[in-house]
Every structure is written in structure tokens, then in C-alpha cells.
Amino acid sequence: MHGALILYMLIALFPVFVILINSFKTRKKIFREPLALPDSESFTLIGYETVLKQGEFFSYFQNSMIVTVASLFLILLCGAMAAYALAEYQFKGNKWMALYLALGIMIPIRIGTVAILEMMVATNLVNTLWALILVYTAQGLPLAVFILSEFMQQISDELKNAARVDGLSEYQIFLTIVIPLVRPALATVAVFNMIPIWNDLWFPLILAPAEETKTLTLGSQVFIGQYVTNWNAVLAALSMAILPVLVLYMIFSKQLIRGITSGAVK
């Protein structure tokens, strides 16, 4: 069992490893011995230097970060509120509303790219980070609502009733009882959404290609030319792009630890 997992990990990490080692090598060595570790002869930081100097890297980095964090925040906030309404309150059309919200899981948002672009043009949002944040939020909501409402249905009614008897308002119940109890689910949703948003090239290219709104993925494309590609720079940019995702992932995965709900009800 462990053997299989270790094997899988090696296979999954191999490309990352190759990117990392090659980002520290000279261009010649990258092509001649792609799997060799950098040694004193082949070691170079030229890729990193190029990226940091030329590419307005920090601005791209910042854009990516803003878009990812803001989208995740909105997905979690709106998703949790919608999920709670669907899970907790019986109202006319509850089931239909849930189905309607879940439909988005099956329909890729890119089908609507043209319409989205038209809408962004009409609302003057083209070439703003808001354009990306709104689209990513819409993209992430269906799955978020679906997962979170499943989890919220499992919170016992008695717990919520106890809170009502204790004088908490419905909003306080949502914020102080329900949210802490579905933290693992929130973290799951965040992890699921984070990587596609961070890596996306499609929407930045179409909705926000301006220099000041470029994201990291889009920004890295400047090094990939039609005739020559600056591989040192591309690999360095990719290596640096992995870091923040890793940090975010570690923050969320800590929340994934279960067990906090045990002892609430027997």
C-alpha cells in the first residue's frame, strides 16, 4: 500500500523536480543533459535574473495573488451562504434552486466566453482584475455550493436549536456554529479551486491582457517566443510560481484535519 503511494508521489513530483533542477542550469546543459543535477560548471541564476529584471515579475505575481485570493474568498463566502440557505431552510423551489446551482458543475464556463467578453465590455471591466475575479467566482460556485450544502445538512438540527434557545440569531448561528464546523469542507473547496485559478491562461488572455493586469501565467508567455524561447526564464518563472500555491495549500490542508466535530452529538 505504502509502496504504491510512494510510487505515485514520485511520478507526480518528477516533472516538478525536472523543472526545478533545470531552472538552475545553463541553456546548453538543459538540452544536453535534462536530467542531470546542476553542478559547479552548469549552475547559473541567469533565468531568475532575467525574470526578475525584465518581466515585471512582481506585478504579475501580485495580480495572480490578488485574483486567486479574492476569488477564493468570494467563492467560500457566497458558496457557504447559498449552501446554508439551501440546507437549512425549507422554501418553495428549494430543490429546483439546488439543482440549478449544481448544473454549473457539468457545464464548462468557457463555453460562454464570448458572452462573458461582451458583458465585460458592456460593463467596462475589460482589463481589470475584477473581470477575472468575477468569472472565477462564478466558475467555482456550483461545486462549492454542492459540497458545502452536503456537509451542512449533516450538522445536527439539535445543535442549531440549542443555539436558538441560547439566543443566537440566524446570522450568528451561521458564522459561529456552522462555519467552524464545516471548516474541512471549506478547505477542500478552496484547494479544489485554487490551482485552476492560479494556472489559468484562457481568461487572463481574453479578459485582461493589459500589461498592468497580466497574471503570472500570462506574463511568463513573453519568454516563449515564436522563434526562440528563453527556457532559462520560463523554467525560473514556473519554479517561482509554484511557491505561493504551495504556501496556500499548506494553510488550507491544515484545516482539512478532521475530528473537531466529534463530541458534539453522540
Binding site: 445543535l159 441560547d166 466529534s262 463530541g263 453522540k266
Partner: protein
């Protein structure tokens, strides 16, 4: 002053009529037990009283004030739930103080009350623990403590002992009885266990299918049940029912005899065969067969009766109860 008045309460879940014209009165300081089989609407009635569920019609008054439109937290009640329903992310102190903080009580008052209640319930050493770090019995005490610190006018318990093991259940039952003596607050206690009902109650309300079957003191209900259901529900072992036809031909009534009213008697009219003998030490229960009917006989003390032997049973006819074919009591 009456602690609680429920008048003509009806409750529907969709088309299902769960509570049917319920009328109940609880006097100040009284311990009232709602008892009935699973699914008869006990919890629903309790939730209506607490304000967690809206009745379709009828009135609820607490302390002579109509509370139909008053939210749960303002009704002066505290509730202990079947599943404890402790806040898992708050420690014991946090669980006990949440309602008080919510009511904006001042800090010294809160601390005093927590100190008093945690001493009363032996929880002083656990105030910093989380619910997941407590045993079932301790969780139960925290749930009760959380209700007591609020100093309510009326306690509502929803099967508080159903998750405890047998030994702990008896201890906690006694603790709750003591608590009632100490606090002398009115309490409503829901259970489907007739022993809990008999031992705790000043007054028992027997429910079946959303209808109040009978209300009275434990002994009134035991000695003078209004119908066959109440007679069969209260008392353990349960009352024996036989067609009166067996004793006098053509009689359509059902005769009810308590197990302790049956006795081995060589001249007895009931000729039975012993199926099984339960030696309980203090008591001996005989499970006997009379034609296709099974009867339980409760003998005090220890008796040696052979299994599969034939015994004749007699009973005092003045202590037997008679019911018509619909289960209503006849005299």
C-alpha cells in the same frame, strides 16, 4: 400562577397531523413527564413549547404570558437535548456561558453562576475541556449545566438519558430528581421509558399518536388507567391482557391483570404451562402460556418453579381491569 399552559395545540408536517388538540397545564414547581412510544410527537410538542417549531393552531403560555410569538431565547426556558448538542468548538465554560454572554449579563454574574453550577454538577475540573474530551456522562452533565446557568422559569428535557448506559442512567435519574428538589423550578421531561416516568414525575402525561391519552400522578395512572394503552404502557413487567371469554363464555371484554396480582393457586381458574422462569433475586418472573396467550407472573422473593410444568394461577377479581373491544376502560 401556572408555569405552562398549552391550549388546543395542533401541528401538521405537510399532511401528517402530528399533534392533535393538545391541552396541558403545568403548575409552578411541578415535575411533569411526557411519556409515549417512539414517534408519538413528544419531541415535537417540546419544540412547540420551546418556540423552535410553530404550531398550526393553539396557544402556549409560560408564566401566564402568551408566548406564541416570542422567540425561544426570550421565553424563559432552557432545554436539554436528546443528543446533548454541545458546541464542539467551545470548551465546557464556553458552552455554559454562551447564552449568558448573548443576554449581555455582566462578567461577575456569569462567573458566579458558572462556579455555582459547575460545583453542583461536579464539573469544576473540566471547565477547560472540549466536548470531545469528555465521557458520555460528563457531556450530559455539561448539557444540564448549560441549562441551569440560565436560571430559567421552565426546564425542558428531551430524553436526556437515552444515550447513557444503564448504570449511569439510574445515577443521572437520581441526580435530576435531586436537582428538581434543589432548584424547585418547573420541569418538563420527555421520555419513552416508563420507569423514568414513574420514578421522576409529579404528573405524567401519556401521549399516543399525537393525542393525550391520560394525565395524572404516577399512581393514579397505574391504579386507574383510562384505557388499555395506558394500562399496558405503564408498569414493568407490563400488564397482562386476556379475553374475558376464557373465564366466562361469550364475554367480549378484555381483562387486564398486573403481573403482581397473579399468584400460584392450586384452585386457580387459569391453567397454564410455565415457559420460562426469570430469577431476579428479589423477584421471580414466570412467563407462562395459557392457550395461545402469554402471561407474566411476578412473584416476590425467590421461588423454584420447574420450566414446562403446569401451574394454576388465581387472581383477585377486584383488582382486575376490564376494557371493551376498542380498548376503552369499563367498570
Amino acid at each position: 400562577m401556572t408555569a405552562l399552559v398549552v391550549e388546543g395545540v395542533n401541528k401538521y408536517f405537510g399532511d401528517v397531523h402530528v399533534l392533535k388538540d393538545i391541552n396541558i397545564e403545568v403548575n409552578q414547581g411541578e415535575f411533569v413527564v411526557f411519556v409515549g412510544p417512539s414517534g408519538c410527537g413528544k419531541s415535537t410538542l417540546l419544540r412547540v413549547i420551546a418556540g423552535l417549531e410553530q404550531a398550526n393552531s393553539g396557544n402556549v403560555s409560560i408564566d401566564d404570558k402568551l408566548v406564541n410569538a416570542v422567540p425561544p431565547a426570550k421565553r424563559g426556558i432552557a432545554m436539554v437535548f436528546q443528543s446533548y448538542a454541545l458546541y464542539p468548538h467551545l470548551n465546557v465554560r464556553g458552552n455554559m456561558t454562551l447564552a449568558l454572554k448573548q443576554a449581555r449579563l455582566n462578567k461577575t454574574v456569569i462567573n458566579e453562576r458558572v462556579a455555582k453550577v459547575s460545583q453542583m454538577l461536579d464539573l469544576e475540573d473540566y471547565l477547560h475541556r472540549y466536548p470531545s474530551e469528555l465521557s458520555g456522562g460528563q457531556r450530559q452533565r455539561v448539557a444540564i449545566g448549560r441549562a441551569i446557568v440560565r436560571e430559567p422559569k421552565l426546564f425542558l428535557f428531551d430524553e436526556p438519558l437515552s444515550n447513557l448506559d444503564a448504570a449511569l442512567r439510574i445515577n443521572t435519574r437520581i441526580e435530576i430528581a435531586n436537582l428538581h428538589k434543589q432548584l424547585s423550578t418547573s420541569m418538563i421531561y420527555v421520555t419513552h421509558d416508563q420507569t423514568e416516568a414513574m420514578t421522576l414525575a409529579d404528573k405524567i402525561v401519556v401521549l399516543r399518536d399525537g393525542v393525550v391519552e391520560q394525565t395524572g400522578t404516577p399512581m393514579e395512572l397505574y391504579n386507574n388507567p383510562a384505557n388499555q394503552f395506558v394500562a399496558g404502557f405503564l408498569g414493568a413487567p407490563a400488564m397482562n391482557f386476556l379475553p374475558a371469554d376464557l373465564l366466562s363464555n361469550g364475554d367480549t371484554r378484555t381483562i387486564g391483570i398486573r403481573p403482581e396480582d397473579l399468584a400460584i393457586n392450586a384452585n386457580g381458574q387459569l391453567k397454564t404451562r410455565v415457559q420460562h422462569v426469570e430469577h431476579l433475586g428479589g423477584d421471580t418472573n414466570l412467563i407462562v402460556q395459557l392457550n395461545q396467550h402469554q402471561l407474566t407472573v411476578r412473584l416476590f422473593g425467590q421461588h423454584n418453579v420447574e420450566e414446562s410444568s403446569n401451574v394454576n394461577l388465581g387472581f383477585d377479581t377486584s383488582r382486575a381491569l376490564y376494557f371493551d373491544t376498542n380498548g376503552a376502560r369499563l367498570d
